[in-house]
Amino acid sequence: MILGIISSLLWWAVVIFIIVKLVSGGRRKHYSWLQRELSLWEEKNIINKEQGDAVLSLYKLKRVTARKKMDMVKVLTLIGVIFVGLGVIFFVGSNWQRIPSHARTTMLLAITIATLYAGYIFSYEKEGFVNLGKSLLLLASLFWGGTIALIGQIYNIPTSENWYIMLLWAFPIVPIAVLFKNNYVHILASILFVIWNFLYSSSNNIANYYYPIFIFLLMLPTAKNLISSRRINIIGLVSASLYCCFNKYEWLALLISAGLLACYLVQKEERVYLYTACLSFIFWDIAYFTVRQLQPNLYFLLPLGFMLYLTYKDNIEKNLVFCLAGLMIGINLALSSVSQMLNYPFNGLQFTIFQSLLGISIYSAGIVSRNRGYLFPVIYKIFGYLVTFICVYLLAFKALLGEWAGAVNNVYLFGSLILAGIIALVAVDIVRSGNFKNKSNRIELAALIVALIGSLILLLSPRTVLLNTITMNSVLVVFALSSIFLGVELKKPPIFTLGIVIFVLFIITRYIDVTWKLKEKSLFFIVGGLVILFLGTFLEKQRRKIIERMKSE
């Protein structure tokens, strides 16, 4: 059950993250275009630097420096080096027996040191060969790995101790990466440390606390100007934190989260630290749940509250997505703990209704934020809309409704009722505060109330499968229609298109739902295909017409 909950929660988080990323992706593309073009306009004296700065500050953008063009010689040298390095490693791997083992080791070690020397000479002694020198230092680091692997092979060090080989490879190349400031070797060392971490944990079955300490204290501070290496280390930390969820290493996850948060507080311009800290705290919460299943993690509120505070204080829109995902996961894990404590079984129907109500609550928070002029109303609305839509879509399947209606779980039941009460109060407040007068607000509120009523019907009468199916399908249609009307009303093509997409999805799903049981599958596909063709063409034509009209108005 726990794994089921974890995987479903993770699934939610990932889906929501990807969708919101997609939504914001388009705008980012325009921004980066603008950032690039501004430099060109300034160069051609079309605008001056002050005007350029004014444009950048309008969109809250930073000035970007032009990217260095890829040097062909550099690329070829690097590829050549990697090939030679891999060749030597394969050569060692193929157990070349004609030379005695110790002579082989000595030979390889001598080649390694000689390459290191050549790297040093070309980097610092001879002028004009910096790239070759850098590549040779990488080659020496690869040879070093080959040497260690060869010694491991001679003494038959088993695969279960590969972590140890990896460590002996990675640590001694760190001075090259840091003191010679070689970004290739820095990247190589970072990758080796990620592999070492996982091999160490899986071979010894213990949490690897050394990994985050080493990354936070040495690798990240020295990767300040090395974007790729920093990214690898951050990905390594987040994946180590994710690994904690499945291995009950709650303290390690907490350490990584706190470290990432500290990195953000030190380097505020690096927002990625805040996103990953938030994600890592979510993993910590899940790991905590897997360790102490009967104990709700109330401590999670502290980092979550702090993250939310930073999101608003530093005006970081995207992080709200992580905070909201964290909030949902945190609430669900806490309710699961309480359910287990009181011996209530898991009930899929109540669980999904609860998520739907959470989605509606988040959407309502968006409406309140907009009405009162707070930050990020759109994020709340997109997030809430997606969550509610996914739940309603799932609940519109008759088969699932019948299957999921199990023994009552009072924890989720009361949780849902409390949420429903809060939503009702917010709705009353919206009406009373006079924000109900314009048409678009009325459409939005009506859809919200319909979704709320639909969820309540399901919650209070879970056994009436037919009635519930009709109810949820009606809610889905209301969702589609309200989006279409709202899109037209606000003259926003994306909202209008969303409505059409929901409508088409509804038709296709119901068609499959009803006709899949038919024995004649060929008929199912032919009729289905024709319906999709005609309906699709018709709707697409209408959609384009309306969008054209919107644009011309």
Binding site: L116, I151, N156, I157, P175, I176, I206
Partner: protein, 171 residues
Amino acid sequence: MNKKLIFIAVSFLWIAVAVGLIISKQHIIRTGRTVLLETVPVDPRDFLRGDYVILRYKISTLDLQQIQSEKSYYRRGKRVYVKLEPRERFWEAAAVKTKIPVSDNGVYIKAKVKYSYNKKLELNYGIESYFVPEGEGKDIEKNMRGNKSSVEVEVLVDKSGNAIIKKVFAQ
């Protein structure tokens, strides 16, 4: 910082690490006592992976009801020491301890618990891989298939329980 100095320091570090690793293994070879271990057949799908052979020993699985043991259950990843005693042709497990007793002069081999269930213990000794020249693993593989394995492994064990493969006999 002087770059030349860095180069010299790194060279020394690399040589020291490589030599240190060799010395630690050579120490086992120099001071270790030779024991002959019996192998058991392994699943042929997992047996030969590239250029090394996976070995499984009779002492890899221990029945804690039949040998002396401090506990009936050991945590996964726990380090233990298995006392080996010569019985007829091969050396076999006689006891499982969490530390090597100071007064005991017997052969103790270091192991890590893979898992423990129903008073049975699955162990890893760090001698489960044997690297072979390309293509030569097939001979050993042939001798390890079926119900009984005829592969014998000579292992050196030092005083601290570290083990290293000396020779593999495939008859």
